[in-house]
Symmetry: C2
């Protein structure tokens, strides 16, 4: 069914055009008209894929999450020692290169906008919280964690750490670069992991 | 010099009016006209205090920082055991009540806006990083910290933790309430503090 594939591909291209508009002009510029222009489509053609601006923006934001999820799934299927895998997964949750910095910037801009517009979109706000829950529970099952930890609070702590690092990576790019972030995650994990397996 | 006091008081009242406008309408609504209306002033009267919108917004954002700094300074002069004081200071850096939630919301909205407008304001982005540096170094000098810590990375970790918690307190108010935040800070500090003084 090549028709459907093309349809989905076109929707992704439109979503990516909306990211570029948001990055350049902020949410104020993210009108259906501007996005159509950026995507090289007529307004009518764009409306064929998304009938409202909210529908388009919701799709564009879900695509940001989907790309991060895809990167993580690619790591999860690899044959890696558990500690290496956990570190690699954490590094996918924070912006460390131009592509992921742009994704984070779009996400941050959108979240701030959506709060004031009272846009009621079905966005997975707590996806990272669920991810951290899974990660800490896996470490616990693999007996990687020290015995004296409070699992519930370790989830909360890792969740706050990851989002704090993500914000700092965006706001203070030079200081909070990939090396520094990696160093911090290794340090944190070493503080909760048992010394040797 | 009552004239000067009145002038400063009026500027604060205008800044607070701009917060209310931002909270209700987002940055798109934060025009000089709307802020003047909210403050109950004519446009000409407002221009007497702030000649441009950027000047007004810069003042309003600095006032958010100033209020947090004032709250912390009030704690710092109290006669408190060091560990209690440190916990109380950390609790001032995250939104835990309607007043500080509103401050955080205004700050968050503004930061996101300023990034796209390329507004070049003299805002103390890294004030909290400096504060965390001071806090961790004080703990070290007071011999409160475990011997095996990396001080530099403990500053970075506390900084990320505080900002991550602040974002979650804003986004997930119900789960990340005052009790939960306090519990997490106590847990984190207990993991780096020596058992007994």
């Amino acid at each position: 069914m090549p028709k459907i594939v093309d349809h989905n591909l076109r929707k992704k291209q439109i979503a990516e055009a909306s990211w570029r508009v948001i990055l350049e002009q902020g949410m104020e510029g993210a009108t259906v008209r501007n996005i159509a222009k950026e995507a090289g489509l007529s307004l009518g053609a764009l409306r064929h894929y998304f009938s409202t601006q909210d529908e388009l923006l919701e799709f564009a934001m879900k695509l940001v999450m989907e790309r991060a999820t895809d990167r993580i799934e690619k790591i999860a299927v690899k044959e890696l020692p558990p500690k290496d895998m956990i570190l690699k997964i954490l590094m996918q949750l924070v912006p460390t290169n131009p592509e992921t910095l742009a994704e984070m910037e779009v996400w941050f801009t959108f979240i701030s906008y959506a709060r004031h517009k009272q846009v009621n979109m079905d966005l997975p706000h707590d996806r990272i919280y669920q991810g951290m829950t899974k990660l800490i529970r896996s470490m616990d099952q693999l007996k990687l964690l020290r015995k004296d930890l409070n699992i519930d609070l370790e989830i909360e702590r890792l969740y706050a750490l990851v989002d704090g690092v993500a914000i700092h990576a965006l706001m203070e790019k030079e200081r909070m670069n990939q090396e520094r972030i990696y160093e911090l995650f290794v340090y944190h994990l070493n503080s909760i992991w048992v010394e040797e397996q």
